[in-house]
């Protein structure tokens, strides 16, 4: 009965959706041979390297893995912070 009520009021995610979301992440890890922790390290190092050259808005950085068919690509969206205006005169 509880399951029925939860479904009626939409309080519980459908288990098939949960399965799909979990699989998406697992398959990325399996296919790239990267653990979630390594992926986190990769992101942090990537940000650090870029930040050495240009000022970036670290809070707005978004690095994700996108899937197209059986291919994956790493997408990095890195907002730049306007460089402090140089005084030229």
């Amino acid at each position: 009965m509880a399951g029925w009520l939860e479904r009626l009021f939409g309080t519980k995610a459908q288990s098939a959706d949960q399965a799909k979301d979990r699989l998406k992440l697992v398959l990325i890890n399996d296919r790239t041979d990267l653990t979630p922790a390594q992926m986190e390290d990769l992101k942090n190092e990537l940000i650090a390297v870029i930040a050495r050259y240009i000022t970036i808005d670290t809070a707005g950085v978004n690095i994700t893995m996108a899937q197209e068919g059986r291919e994956h690509r790493l997408l990095a969206d890195i907002p730049l912070r306007p460089a402090a205006r140089r005084r030229s005169s």
Partner: protein, 266 residues
């Protein structure tokens, strides 16, 4: 004749590789083709019992490879169909008794005489799997709508690609349309999104599969069941025909629907 060699594999065990191999073999033979199926699961043979031919084994795959018998002597003819044969696996040996090149040689010998050679791969990603895909022209991956089976299917699809045997084709086995409708089972679309390979068939969950396996008469022999019909369709698709996917929506009557609603409370 120049047979097409089809290997049925899955990664995970228990998803229905052997049932699929047996039924596709029967379905292709019903279509008038010459078919031989090979049990690639050395040490854990099962294709013989699923086909109902277990009492007629004299020689097996390892006997052929090690030269104790001629190829012909190890081929068991299924009397229910004009041209269906089985080469059983050895039961008391292990996978190392056969090499991938043995399998390639064996299949090359069979190609001239048959239209189809089907190989039932063991579960796993080791020697038995490599033996089974070595001679393949087409690799069919069987999975169930469950996280563990889909994950293993993905792994095996990657290995098939790495061996340059891809792209593999997918059979989704034991789909329960009522559970999918309720949102409690991965749908065919969900699985295709994740695995991104071509779907060649969906076999609905059907108690007739259990019954027919008990009897050793594959469901495809009598195409009147849902699963049997699905296998007949897959066999035609393997042959290159364009066959629409069957409608898996419930064909239940109002009474059964009501009864189910009462049970599940929704």
């Amino acid at each position: 004749m120049a047979a097409t060699v089809v290997t049925v594999t899955s990664g995970k065990g228990g998803v229905g590789k052997t049932t699929t191999t047996a039924n596709l073999a029967v379905a292709l033979a019903l279509g008038g083709k010459k078919v031989v199926c090979i049990d690639g699961d050395i040490g854990l043979r099962n294709l013989d019992v699923v086909l109902g031919l277990e009492n007629r084994i004299v020689y097996d795959l390892v006997d052929i490879v090690e030269g104790r018998c001629r190829l012909r002597q190890a081929m068991i003819r299924d009397k229910r169909l004009p041209e269906l044969y089985l080469i059983p696996a050895a039961q008391t040996r292990d996978k190392s008794a056969v090499s991938p090149s043995d399998m390639v040689r064996l299949c090359d010998d069979l190609r001239a005489e048959f239209d189809w050679v089907l190989i039932d791969s063991p579960a796993g990603i080791e020697r038995g799997f490599r033996n089974s895909i070595a001679p393949a022209d087409v690799v069919v991956v069987v999975t169930n709508p469950e996280v563990s089976a889909v994950r293993d299917a993905d792994r095996i699809i990657g290995l098939i690609e790495a061996e340059e045997k891809g792209p593999a084709r997918l059979i989704l086995n034991r789909l329960n349309p009522a559970l999918v409708k309720r949102g409690d089972m991965l749908s065919a679309d969900d699985i295709l999104d994740l695995l991104a390979i071509e779907l060649i068939g969906i076999v609905p969950e059907d108690e007739n599969v259990v019954i027919s396996t008990n009897r050793g008469t594959p469901v495809a022999l009598d195409g009147k069941t849902r699963a049997g019909e699905a296998y007949l369709n897959i066999a035609r698709r393997l042959g290159g025909e364009k066959v629409p996917f069957m409608n898996l929506e419930d064909k239940q009557g109002l009474f059964q629907k009501l009864a189910r609603m009462m049970r599940s409370g929704g």
